[in-house]
């Protein structure tokens, strides 16, 4: 029982850190835009931060890190597939 509570508290503490990290990454995303620079690297960097946040939501908040087999991967695939295609579209318009 004590071990269960300890594990439970540890999971909650991890999720609190994940929340704080996502807040920080969101602020970085917002302020990157205030630099006023139209740059492919910045746009792709911002997209990468969004994909990392999406992974954190899937793995920690949706608890997919505890899932094995097929159901572990759909969120990751959902992030990677559109993420790659969006990156290609922005790359092609960067001149």
């Amino acid at each position: 029982m004590a071990n269960g509570n300890k594990k439970h508290n540890g999971e909650l503490r991890t999720c609190t850190w994940v929340w704080l990290i996502m807040i920080l990454l969101t602020l970085v995303t917002y302020f990157s835009n205030t630099l006023g620079v139209s740059n492919l690297a910045i746009s792709l960097g911002v997209l990468l931060l969004a994909l990392i946040k999406g992974h954190l939501v899937g793995a920690y908040f949706m608890e997919l890190r505890y899932v094995r087999g097929f159901w572990r991967w759909p969120i990751t695939l959902w992030l990677l597939l559109p993420g790659t295609l969006i990156s290609i579209a922005f790359y092609l318009t960067s001149g």
């Binding site: 969101t26 990157s32 746009s43 994909l51």
Partner: protein
């Protein structure tokens, strides 16, 4: 939460629904990016007209609401229905704040006569934003139904699949916004 489960938390049906929803949003995001290829200047110009501060506030609000839902799930796993209801209520309050901020943004656009046929950028922006807005409303209704059932003692540490099901849907709504925000408001 036990290690190495075969299925994600909550009802499997909601996960099939979540994947279908994500597929629709994913296609719309890619369509936005490729439509932008043919209208780069138009997209860059009208993107500047959007209220980025509101979008930032809404991103922080949704991330926080998702964290509150995580707390609600943990509370019911500890057999604490009252705490679970409090966290669910806090998450719904965050959802209401999101709707308020986004509603004000829509009101501003509509007052200027902007609609889906104004131009290609606004067509994508309004479609994505309104479609997501409707999902937030739906997710709030689901959380409210769960909170009501929890109030009647419908969930416990042994049986809380309903809470996990609603939580998974709420996180999906958050997940979609996490991509929508940089794509439509920031990347140019």
């Amino acid at each position: 939460m036990e290690q190495s489960n075969r299925y994600p938390p909550g009802d499997l049906a909601i996960w099939i629904f979540i994947l279908a929803e994500l597929a629709i949003f994913g296609i719309a995001f890619v369509a936005y990016a490729f439509a932008r290829m043919y209208n780069v200047e138009l997209f860059n110009e009208y993107q500047q007209h959007l209220d980025r501060r509101s979008a930032l506030a809404n991103t922080l609000v949704l991330i926080t609401s998702s964290y509150f839902v995580v707390r609600a799930v943990h509370a019911i796993r500890e057999d604490n229905s009252r705490l679970c209801i409090r966290w669910l209520s806090a998450a719904m309050a965050m959802g209401a704040l999101f709707l308020l901020i986004k509603g004000a943004e829509f009101a501003h656009h509509f007052a200027l006569g902007i609609n889906l046929s104004t131009n290609t950028f606004y067509m994508f922006y309004l479609f994505l934003a309104i479609f997501h807005f409707m999902h937030v409303i739906m997710a709030m209704i689901i959380l409210a139904a769960i909170a009501l059932k929890a109030r009647r003692g419908g969930y416990s540490a042994r049986d809380h699949r309903g809470v996990e099901t609603g939580a998974s849907y709420w996180h999906m709504v958050d997940l979609v916004w996490l991509i929508l925000f940089p794509l439509v408001y920031v990347m140019h």
